[in-house]
């Protein structure tokens, strides 16, 4: 884009005086370098010496004094200020799972854009149906303190609401396009047996126009942490602007016990022990949507959803803000003292508090646009990784960094039980992403 939000980086306005001087030096160097064996470096070096010695009283004019006691300085890195817009709370989003249960309604966080998301759980033709209401609406959402971005959203939030269902369920999504002038769709990353429900322009209802509604019905399979997003063209724009969210399909322990090979990447003999281990893992995965799987109370797991994303605020095809769950630095301390290790939590910017005795399960999704890959790296810790969450035994054990292409997702499991209480950083291990917002902390208690 040429005019609005133009990045004037390209037209480098160097200080004119610097240009003049550099011009002078260049010209001098050029005029002198043709003389026998005088190198450019020698000329410039000679200039510096000549300049210093030839002019009476000229010493080094650069001031070398250290500005005070650096121990008192706070580190300058990070985005100053706090978030002011309250319509989206990334801390609330982190642990919010919507199962369709309308009796367990979430607080109306988005006001008129909340649209009664959980529409009910019921039986139909011997199948459990979980029904949701989705509305596409444009919303300005704050992505860094003081900076808003014009989002295209599902239900007024980016990322869109996290849906959590059980394998074998029917997911029914009543989608209404609340945009005044733009068509959208919802495309699920599921094993979807009906092409009409793929949510693309070419199939079934195609594009859902402004004011129109359509009910998508999806089979909840396979087990895993999945993604849904708008598939309207230009795809890049609709994804970048925020039309995505996560859909978690939990395994049924009895299915796993019956047919463990489907759920584990394991080629040895299926002993009773392996069978039970897999079923137990399924049970642990499923406790959120099914409290009845842990009648005696199962509280050893802390589950979180982290959607890695970025925003190209000046529309030059390169992101200016990176984050997990949309806001840059929102899970980082409001203020740190780089030298004394002291830090402060803010109202709107504070680390994720976790219990050192609980196992942490992070559903990680990458919806970054304009960059090929994103990554997750945690400090002082290693995790087990389940690619796409489709297996119950980890695909990779004991890693501290995972790389993800766009739409790639997985489950990370780790705990800080051996660690001292305090701050533990995690961030994208693309330094640029980290320094532009994708940098966060766990506060282990």
């Amino acid at each position: 884009m040429s005019s609005d939000r133009q990045e004037s980086d390209s037209a480098i306005h160097e200080d004119d005086a610097g240009t003049v001087t550099r011009g002078l030096e260049e010209r001098l160097v050029d005029s002198v370098k043709n003389h026998d064996g005088v190198s450019r470096r020698a000329v410039l070096g000679g200039l510096a010496i000549a300049g210093g010695s030839a002019i009476a009283g000229t010493g080094a004019t650069r001031s070398d004094d250290d500005t005070g006691d650096s121990n008192d300085e706070t580190m300058g890195f990070g985005a100053p200020g706090t978030y002011t817009e309250e319509q989206f709370d990334p801390h609330g989003f982190l642990r919010e799972f919507n199962t369709g249960d309308s009796t367990n309604e979430r607080p109306s966080r988005f006001g008129e854009n909340d649209y009664n998301l959980n529409a009910g759980v019921y039986e139909e033709n011997g199948q459990t149906v979980r029904e949701f209401n989705f509305v596409a609406v444009p919303v300005e959402q704050e992505i860094l303190p003081g900076i808003t971005f014009p989002m295209w959203t599902f239900n007024g939030q980016v990322p869109g609401p996290t849906i959590r269902v059980e394998e074998g369920d029917l997911v029914r999504v009543n989608f209404t396009n609340g945009f005044p002038d733009m068509a959208h769709t919802i495309h699920p990353h599921l094993r979807n047996l009906n092409p009409r429900m793929d949510g693309i322009p070419q199939n079934g209802p195609g594009l859902i126009d402004s004011g129109e509604s359509f009910t998508y019905e999806w089979q909840a399979q396979p087990v895993g942490t999945h993604l849904y997003h708008c598939h309207m063209l230009p795809l890049k724009a609709h994804v970048h602007r925020g039309m995505y969210g996560s859909m978690i399909v939990d395994p049924k322990p009895e299915n796993v016990r019956e047919n463990p090979r489907q759920y584990i990447d394991y080629h040895g003999p299926i002993t009773d022990e392996v069978r039970e281990m897999a079923a137990e893992r399924a049970r642990s995965r499923n406790m959120i949507s099914h409290a009845d799987y842990s009648p005696e109370g199962f509280d050893g797991i802390d589950e979180m959803v982290m959607v890695m994303n970025g925003f190209d605020t000046n529309f030059d095809g390169d992101n200016e803000v990176y984050g997990v769950n949309t806001r840059g630095f929102c899970y980082a301390p409001a203020r740190t003292d780089a030298y004394n290790g002291e830090w402060e939590a803010g109202e709107t910017k504070h680390p994720i508090e976790i219990d050192g005795n609980e196992r942490q399960r992070v559903h990680l999704l990458n919806t970054i646009e304009f960059d090929f890959v994103n990554s997750f790296h945690c400090h002082s810790q290693f995790f087990d990784y389940y690619d796409a969450g489709t297996t119950l035994f980890p695909n990779r054990k004991t890693i501290d960094t995972v790389l993800m292409c766009q739409a790639q997702r997985g489950i990370l499991e780790f705990d800080y039980s051996n660690h001292e209480p305090g701050l533990y950083m995690f961030h994208a291990h693309q330094s640029e992403f980290a320094e532009l917002g994708w940098m966060s902390f766990f506060e282990v208690n």
Binding site: R5, D9, E25, G46, A50, A56, D65, E320, E435
Partner: protein
């Protein structure tokens, strides 16, 4: 040609009382009608149908300074007709803390308001740094600090150093050039005219040299101030003002020649002020290695400016020596002043204005020299044309070594 008033077929009118109304009424009518039209325009908002949306934000980073090795300072201006809020700052594509001063205590810049952004950043000498300010709507405005180096500010040592450089490149060569005066007095009128034409060539070169540079620095002027137009105004304003003053001051030939010499000295002084600004600004960007070679180059370049000033006087009686001292100081010392201004304020606006005024002053002198030559001969005489051309070429040749 007839002087009879022509009728358009209507009522014959008295030229003093059109439509039988008093003159002042007729004079005021168009203004009243204009008010009516503007009022109607505002009231009916006929442009509502072609509303192009909000004006685009436009913030410039006018210049950057590095006061110490833990600080980057940005000087920003809002060029757009709407206020803009600076919400974040990037250094090399990383969010950084910053303090903003000069915008009334907040981070919102009113139209044409300027402010200073201070970033606590430990930069390293010689590296390039990309700095970007991010507005509340995500628009970004950036610049690059090339080969970072401390900006010294106006310390005692810098004042002294710039004074020495100013004397060396300003006063010394001009004083040396003025010493050609006795030699010039021995020249015939024909050859003196050629020397005058040579001076005009020298000054003409400086007009273009300074003019181009003024337009170049105008690029860095906050766009709200329309840099290039400022150059045009500066040049024409200085020229016309100087012309008016010299015309008003002088009637007789002798005095007019003296005043022309002063005009030339003033014009050259303003030119040297700009040279000083460039040197001071170079100091301010930390490029303190303006070597001996450069100073010698400037001296050779500027030595021609001396005879240019006194050439108009060579034809008549020698004025008192005090005048010659005044010429040297007027033409040479602004180099010192320029250095001091350049190192303490890094404003491209001021820089551009000084350059433009200098060009205007030089232009006036060129035309005055043309008048003198015409009074005692023809501008198109071969020695004069050659003199002018040699003046241009000479400056171009010496300019190859310096500015």
């Amino acid at each position: 040609m007839t002087t009879d008033p022509k009728s358009d077929g209507g009522v014959a009118q008295s030229p003093n009382q059109p439509f039988g109304l008093p003159r002042w009424v007729i004079g005021i009518v168009p203004i009243l009608l204009l008010g009516l039209v503007i009022g109607g325009f505002v009231a009916t908002t006929p442009l509502a149908g072609v509303d192009g949306g909000e004006p685009l934000p436009d913030v410039s980073i006018d210049y950057t300074t590095l006061p110490n090795d833990d600080t980057i300072r940005l000087h920003v201006t809002n060029n757009a007709p709407e206020p803009v809020t600076i919400s974040q700052v990037h250094v090399d594509e990383a969010n950084w803390q910053f303090e903003m001063t000069g915008a009334g205590g907040d981070r919102t810049l009113e139209p044409l308001e300027s402010a200073t952004i201070e970033i606590p950043y430990s930069w390293m000498e010689g590296y390039d740094y990309g700095v970007t300010v991010v507005a509340d709507n995500g628009a970004t405005f950036g610049t690059t600090i090339v080969a970072a180096n401390s900006s010294p500010g106006l310390t005692g040592q810098v004042v002294w150093t710039l004074a020495v450089i100013g004397v060396l490149i300003g006063i010394v060569p001009i004083a040396l050039g003025i010493m050609w005066f006795p030699f010039m007095q021995t020249m015939s009128e024909k050859w003196l005219n050629a020397v005058l034409a040579f001076s005009a060539g020298v000054l003409g070169y400086l007009v273009f040299d300074g003019g181009f540079e003024a337009f170049e620095t105008a690029q860095s002027v906050p766009s709200g101030y329309s840099g290039p137009l400022l150059v045009v105004l500066g040049i024409s304003g200085a020229w016309l003002l100087l012309q008016a003053v010299t015309d008003w001051l002088t009637d007789d030939e002798e005095e007019s020649r003296l005043s022309l010499a002063y005009s030339a000295a003033l014009g050259i002084g303003l030119h040297n002020l700009a040279e000083g600004l460039a040197i001071g600004a170079a100091f301010a960007t930390g490029r303190t290695s303006l070597g001996m070679f450069l100073i010698i180059g400037f001296m050779i370049h500027n030595v021609t400016e001396g005879p240019v000033i006194v050439a108009p006087l060579a034809d008549g009686n020698r004025p008192s020596l005090a005048h010659f001292v005044a010429f040297g100081l007027l033409a040479g010392s602004p180099a010192i002043l320029g250095g001091w201004i350049g190192v303490s304020t890094r404003s491209p606006l001021l820089n551009t204005l000084f350059l433009a005024i200098g060009v205007g002053a030089l232009l006036q002198v060129v035309f005055d020299i043309g008048d003198i030559v015409r009074r005692s001969g023809s501008i198109r005489a071969a020695p004069n044309v050659m003199g002018f051309a040699i003046g241009l070429l000479f400056m171009y040749a010496t300019g190859l070594f310096t500015l």
